[in-house]
Symmetry: C2
Subunit: 415 residues, 2 copies
């Protein structure tokens, strides 16, 4: 008999019909003898509806009151799922974040969980009841309602699993696991049985939006066994989803390369011919950060004759703003021969924990791209990934070519 925390997102509880479906899935696990804690998001669209109401009244609403309003979304869902379980003859009891007592700091709209009182939940579980908890929300030390920010329900689920020392935290989404790459681009993409947390983080930040990064970090920190599953399978399906692992010595058959991630929404900016001296990176990127523009890849080429070229990527939506910031700073903060940019690029990455111990992966990647005539504009590497920036028109081709080159469609990966 295991203790399982299950989290269902907004589309999984998007209608009374879908809510009954969630109740059936929860019941299936309860019938198997497991103790189940269910964490829920708001019905899809509801959080946006509520925040839009607030914005109709003020362009800059108070974060404390936004949390009071937004927290109602999950409160409705927990009541509805509890009612659906009662209707099926099960004991179930709903809890808001404040009722559990999920204690957070007071950073409204982006609060962090400090402590969870598991007493009420344990009592109900001992009593044979299913516990239903509102995700995304908590309460600060003064009793103010707080929310964890978008996607915070994943974090709630992982934190509850950690507090209850749950055997597993199951995240139900609209996909049935983590894939080697997007199946819409590569039909042969294969669901991974396991993925390490580091790989998952690289996959998530690169656009495989299956899990919130913060929740994955949290799971890594507290060693919570995390599994991604589909809420669209039959409620009594025993599909395994993808298990996210934290220890390399777990004795699992570990693929060298896990997947091909990509991101379409990038733009590249190059500052050419700046003086190659200490402080120049800060002179360029400082104002960018001050303007709240997130920078992703950063590359500095070795320069000749005391000059260097400095390139970085930003989100495409912030491309024009970043260019404007640099234009304003160019004469004051740094001097440059030329500032050029390109917003028709994309980023493709090969991700795998196996890179740590295998050489030659980078050249294999570059060769596969070169064979198709795809020009590489930027390269950046980390311990477990190699990313390249290429023309956006080559995105699908590059992903397919790399998926094949690394034989990700096969169960046993040879490099």
């Amino acid at each position: 008999m295991a203790l399982i925390v299950q989290k269902y997102g907004g589309t999984s509880v998007g209608s009374p019909e879908r809510i009954k479906n969630v109740a059936q899935r929860v019941a299936h696990h309860h019938r198997q003898g497991h103790r189940v804690v269910v964490v829920l998001s708001a019905m899809s669209g509801e959080t946006n509806r509520l925040l839009a109401l607030a914005r109709e009244i003020s362009a800059n609403p108070s974060p404390r009151e936004l949390d009071v309003i937004a927290a109602t979304g999950e409160q409705v869902t927990i009541g509805l799922v509890a009612i659906a379980l009662h209707e099926m003859g099960f004991k179930a009891r709903s809890y808001t974040g404040g009722q559990v007592r999920i204690l957070t700091d007071s950073a409204h709209t982006k609060a962090r969980i400090l402590d969870i009182d598991e007493g009420n939940m344990r009592r109900d579980l001992d009593d044979g009841a299913i516990v239903i908890v509102a995700g995304f929300q908590g309460v600060d030390a003064e009793g103010n309602i707080t929310t964890l920010g978008r996607g915070g329900s994943d974090t709630s689920a992982v934190a509850l699993a950690a507090a209850l020392s749950a055997d597993e935290c199951q995240i139900y989404t609209d996909v049935d696991g983590v894939y080697t790459t997007d199946p819409r681009i590569v039909p042969e993409a294969r669901r991974l049985d396991t993925i390490t947390v580091e790989e998952m983080l690289e996959m998530a930040s690169l656009g495989s939006k299956v899990l919130q990064i913060r929740a994955v970090e949290f799971a890594g920190k507290y060693k919570v066994k995390l599994r991604v599953l589909s809420s669209f399978d039959a409620p009594d399906s025993n599909a395994p989803g993808t298990l996210i692992t934290f220890e390399e010595d777990e004795n699992m058959e570990q693929a060298i390369i896990s997947g091909i991630a990509f991101s379409r929404d990038e733009a590249k900016i190059s500052v050419m011919g700046v003086l190659d001296k200490p402080g120049v990176a800060h002179a360029i990127l400082g104002p960018i950060a001050a303007a709240n523009v997130d920078v992703d890849m950063i590359v500095q080429n070795i320069g000749a004759s005391g000059q260097t070229d400095f390139s970085f990527t930003v989100h495409r939506n912030e491309y024009q703003r970043a260019l404007a910031v640099l234009a304003a700073e160019r004469t004051k903060g740094f001097s440059a021969r030329e500032i050029i940019g390109d917003d028709k690029i994309c980023k493709v990455s090969v991700v795998g924990i196996g890179m740590r111990s295998h050489v030659g992966l980078a050249s294999k990647m570059f060769k596969a791209l070169a064979d198709e005539g795809i020009n590489i504009k930027m390269i950046s590497t980390s311990e477990i990934k190699i990313s390249v920036v290429i023309d956006e028109k080559y995105l699908e081709l590059a992903v397919r070519v790399l998926h094949q080159a690394f034989e990700l469609d096969k169960d046993d990966v040879a490099v």
Copy 2:
């Protein structure tokens, strides 16, 4: 500088535009130097939408979970009104029932208030802030969310006013006070400056649905000064509304008759020729009550030769059910010569505290009706009202005739 509790109902906060209007009215009182506590209902239609969601999942949803769901309606409104006040530059802070700590019993969906912790509200008021409280809801001793039942926001407001020893509790509705009768029937109907709580109760139960009866009783019990005002007047209007008074010796100019109330939704049932012996009323009405049919007027005529005729009125929607109950009981519980009914009737009442000390009012009423050829089918009297049952087709005529007969269109009422 007074402490005022203001309650706004669902139509008053039915849209972002209306919410801004409420904020302006609250601000107007705050600017005048008053300390203001605002009690809010859910946006109109919202509670019904939430309960309908629950009923889509179960025909018989758990009352505890219904309360969890329904309480979100007011929680959204308090956040929105607080944001609207911030936008105008005022300090304001929202509280759910649980955050105030409005302690209730555990009778979900119809809980009663046991105690109110005024500490948080006092601290905010002392700090110059406007306090915004969710009506209709509280929390039981175990921390479960409870609701007070339909219209409970009026009760919340009165209870908060009592707990804070407020100088006045203002109930804002879509009418600007209590009228001598419905102005849609009698254009000369006049807004009453004051009305006693007993008269208000009679007027409310007879169809002048301005205030929840329970709230009025609560106000009477705790001597809360209650005023009914319109939320559709200009926010800076100083319209006085109608003050509800509790003491006859308040030295106010007290009209003898306050108004003409009426109810359209009545049906009359007569059980003819029953034995005139102890227990017969119970034999007839016991099964009616057991079937959860509310009985309004009850009249028993003195009978001849050991027999009597027994009449009562029920809501028109329950007329057929009441007849069926009597038909089933007729042979078992009592014997009667005939059971007849009429669902084309209405009830018209003259209400006034002055009746206690003035005679001849009944005959004045009966004469006015007789002069118009209106036949009276039933009469029932209490200390402060006289009600008659008449053909429903005469309702408007009767109300107009009585309004005129008692000179309710004039400020100084002579009888």
